[in-house]
Amino acid sequence: MSGLRTGWALPGADSRAIVDAAHLAERWNIDTLWLGDPQARLANSDDSYVMVSAAAAAAVTSHVRIGVILSGQASACALRIAEDIGVVDQIAGGRLSVAFSPSVDPARTGDISRIAAAPRTWPLGDGRTMPVTPAPAQPTVPLLVLQPASSGLIGRSWNDPAGRPPVMAIPWAEGTAPPTPSRLAELRAMAGRSGADEVILLTPAPAPPLVPLATVIGTVIAPALRAADHEMALLALDATRWLQQSTNGVASPTEILCLSRVSRSEA
């Protein structure tokens, strides 16, 4: 399957690491940066922590999509989370996606999704109805429900659970080593079997150093997932060779500057 999008998730990462990753994801043309923990077990996966981090990531980027994985932990009621969705999508200029972890109570998922969808209103219980503002910048914020599947997790649209899943999330254990063409072909096949058009690589904290990880995802994995079937193997080899040359000292001054800036912030 070609034309796949690439997502990068850092479950457990703190807000500073998220902002650094957002810069890198944008720099390396990764399609979506996902925040939060699908298993809702790691630190920093409370929905409020995730929404605050998402706002910071959105504020320092202009085109990478920002995905939030909501854990459903009871730190905020559905109305407050729906308001957060409106604010963060406005800050992001319409780049927000929302996924609910498998542990979220379906009733809560439904509550948040109904408020976040148009018309965004909230009943007071006495016949009056109030607008939930601000509305998101997007006419429809993508709302997904993550479900366990043989290939990892798949995300189905909340209002179309029987439809084609738009995302597939898998743990990424290879670290910063560029994957082989056969491994990339396997990824494409898994996505093809699930029907997803975005592959999210989960790199739980403590993740490998962000710069080399983002570089591998952006220069090797994402192009290989986008490429046509017959182009993929050669592209992956070329991209891996280019990456190895670049990291051996032949990167452009601009790239070195970018890498060193983020490396300092990691330190």
Binding site: S48, Y49, A55, A74, V88, Q90, L124
Partner: protein, 312 residues
């Protein structure tokens, strides 16, 4: 410096996204001009998009600035669980260590309480309960160096802040006598430090620096219109309470200090003489933005703040 509320009102409709971007840009400008902090206001379920989610909004400003602090003035604690606030503070503290001020308060707008399944009568109990939870283990550990402030206009509120070791942020339109009583009460109860920071006694004030009489008329009209709209929040039924609404407009806009640098300096120096050690100046009125706002910020920075910092 405050209050940024991201409203798109009938006075000056704007896309919400532009307002959030402007807030960050104006915070950077305030930072350049030497202001210490910017503050954001919270309301819910309003046609104008008044910011309901202050912690994400604060994150977007902290991420785009280097030094200036960002505060909530105020976050209505009865509408948020203590865990939600603690988790948001934890994210902000990691993002910008020591630069977030958690200004917390009671709230008052009936429909917002109804939407949360609460009554206004529950607000004091909820504030105390949640403030206590926030400032005790395990949630306190999530706050890090976050300063905790309590927004209030009453002596009882100042006493509550002292009990919790919180800083105070006195609401605008609080009279000098009451402010003095609040300070005496707060100071007399020997405030500690809520999160490892020395407690402070701050006050909010509506100000605008302008010498030209015609410009001042224009500014005054916009301040009045800001309060006309805002006064709707204090009326159960603004349609049938027109007289009360107009009275509120007179009362609130009358407390704003609009005029020459000397006039504004005199007023603020008077607050400092009463014990105030931090000033949050509201200069973000409806329709007063862009170049006119920048000009006001510049004049405050150049002609008012130096006088106050030198103790005149």
């Amino acid at each position: 410096m405050g209050l940024w509320t991201m409203q798109s009102t009938y006075v000056q409709p704007k896309p919400a996204g532009a307002l959030y971007r402007e807030a960050a840009t104006e915070a950077r400008r305030a930072e350049e001009l030497g202001f210490d902090s910017v503050w954001l206001g919270e309301h819910h379920l309003s046609y104008d998009g008044f910011c309901p989610s202050l912690l994400p909004a604060a994150a977007s400003i902290l991420a785009r600035t280097e030094r200036i602090a960002v505060g909530t003035g105020i976050l209505v604690l009865p509408f948020h669980t203590a865990q939600r606030v603690a988790e948001g503070c934890a994210a902000l503290e990691t993002l910008a260590p020591g630069r977030f001020r958690a200004g917390l308060g009671l709230g008052y707008r009936e429909v917002e309480f109804a939407a949360a399944g609460l009554s206004v009568a529950q607000r004091v109990g909820l504030l105390d309960e949640r403030l206590g939870a926030l400032l005790a283990p395990p949630l306190r550990d999530r706050l890090g160096a976050t300063q905790v402030w309590l927004g209030t206009g009453s002596v009882a509120g100042a006493a509550r802040a002292a009990r919790h070791g919180a800083s105070v942020l006195v609401q605008p339109a609080t009279g000098r006598r009451r402010l003095s009583e609040m300070y005496g009460t707060w100071q007399g109860q020997t405030p500690g430090a809520a999160a490892g920071q020395p407690a402070r006694f701050g006050a909010m004030a509506d100000v605008w620096v302008e010498d030209d009489e015609r410009q001042l008329e224009w500014v005054t009209a916009r301040v009045r219109e800001t309060w006309r709209q805002y006064s709707n929040f204090w009326c159960d039924d603004p349609v049938t309470e027109q007289d009360r609404r107009e009275m509120l407009v007179e009362q609130m806009s009358g407390t704003a200090v609009l005029g020459s640098p000397a006039k504004v300096t005199d007023h603020l120096a008077g607050l400092i003489e009463l014990g105030v050690d931090s000033l949050v100046l509201r200069i973000r009125f409806d329709g007063l933005d862009g170049r006119v706002l920048d000009r006001c910020l510049e004049r405050l920075s150049a002609e008012v703040l130096p006088q106050l910092r030198m103790g005149r």
